[in-house]
Amino acid sequence: MLHNAIAIVSENWLLLLIGQYPNGPLGGIAATLILSVLGIVLAFPLSVLIALARISRWRLLRAPATALVYLVRGVPLLMIIFWVYFLFPLLLGANVPGFATMVCTLVIYEGAFLSEVVRAGIEALPRGQMDAARALGHSYPRAMRYVILPQALYNMLPAILSQFISTIKETTLGYVINVPELTFAANQINNRLLTKPFEVFLILALTYYAVCWSLTWVATWLERRIATRRAGPAPIGMMAARA
């Protein structure tokens, strides 16, 4: 069985890695990672805006942002994929490729989830930070930009990274709208071989596991580093490096 799996990988590694590129669309792990990175990178600024709206004094900003977050968190990702898949072409009056559909979906979905992470990060800071900034004459937006957000986002880095890991796993759903990411590639192989589903999906699972596990490891390392940095006097070596 292991023997079979190795044979499958050695025959199909290029398909698993980049799909049918350059003869077809980019796929495989490459597509999965690009989808995830695009999703999280575009979702991030959106999530900061949603978080700021959520804690705003103005109801006009707060209410719709809160509604959006609850709505998105309250429905399965697959529903959002279908909405975007069927609605966007209607609204735009043009064909939207599967890849773009999936990126839009991820941005909406991750934006809503990340905004809760960002909001928690802002609210976890001691109130004295905002007080000090305001007492020095900073406007609210400036206090946010120079004092609150840099700290909140730094503290939130591990949580943002673990959101990225979830995103990687969520891209598998792109399969249902024929986005040629890693799961799609694996399924192609399975359809071609017909007799070796166990091996094929074992390879698929191990690949996801390897990618996500290494990122989890990075997140844990980051978390520990941030904890030590926040804890107090840094060791002499670090002080010298920073001075």
Binding site: A132, R134, L136, H138, R242
Partner: protein
């Protein structure tokens, strides 16, 4: 310089400031003291409008800081009143130097180089020029508080407010912070300082305000207040303080 007229403030149905009327003249140093929960912090926080009030006026340099005004104007007024917190509240992601540079640079639009020069001068003045590049977490409490004072001074405020600037410090660090504040007093800075450091108050204050339950019960010179307090509550407060 600072005039409080008929100030009332409530937190829900708790009245924390009751009919406060008092003045701080230019160049004067006022020490505010009183038991825990008497409203001292709330009082000085209202002077730069970190807290809103229900009624009354607070004139700073002749202008009511609690008047309706555009946010930009309030920010400008606030930047002219230095505030030093009990818990320092330095920005932990910035070095000591950058903590001081940030506001003159971003609020007053002072160029980075000029802001940096001013910050270095201030750090020298509080005796921390050699720690300019340290982060707050690498500084002792006393050092952090001195940086916080330098940060407030960087806005060149004509008045400074201190909320128990030394009560979060280990005893051996109290002196270094009080020395800086004493220096400001000698230069004629207008100051309101919440503190229970009696010897400091005797030496530096022009007036002592004694607060209890949201009221200023006694206003006196430090000599009179610490020598022969008039109000029975002040007498009890002082004897408790001395017994500690």
């Amino acid at each position: 310089m600072i005039q409080l007229q008929g100030v009332n403030k409530w937190f829900g149905d708790l009245q924390v400031l009751a009919d406060i009327n008092a003045n701080v003249a230019r160049g004067e140093v006022v020490v505010v003291c009183g038991p825990s929960g008497s409203g001292k912090s709330t009082l000085i926080r209202t002077v730069n409008r970190l807290e809103e009030i229900r009624s009354g006026t607070i004139l700073v340099d002749g202008r009511n800081i609690h008047a309706k005004m555009p946010a930009a104007e309030l920010n400008a007024m606030r930047s002219r009143i230095g505030f030093v917190f009990q818990s320092f509240n330095l920005f932990p992601h910035l070095s000591a130097l950058d903590n001081i540079i940030l506001s003159p640079h971003r609020v007053n639009g002072l160029g980075r180089a000029a802001a940096r020069d001013r910050a270095m001068t201030l750090l020298e003045r509080v005796g921390l020029a050699n720690r300019a590049h340290s982060f707050p977490a690498q500084l002792s409490g006393g050092q952090q508080q001195r940086v916080a004072i330098a940060r407030a001074l960087a806005m060149e405020p004509p008045a400074m407010l201190f909320d128990e600037p030394t009560s979060a410090l280990d005893p051996e660090m109290v002196g270094e912070v009080l020395a800086v504040i004493r220096g400001l007093a000698q230069e004629g800075m207008t100051m309101m300082c919440v503190t229970h450091e009696m010897s400091f108050a005797r030496e530096v204050a022009d007036q002592v305000w004694f607060m209890d339950a949201g009221r200023i019960l006694e206003t006196a010179t430090p000599g009179a207040f610490f020598g022969a307090p008039q109000h029975p509550r002040a007498q009890r407060f002082l004897s408790d303080l001395r017994a500690r």
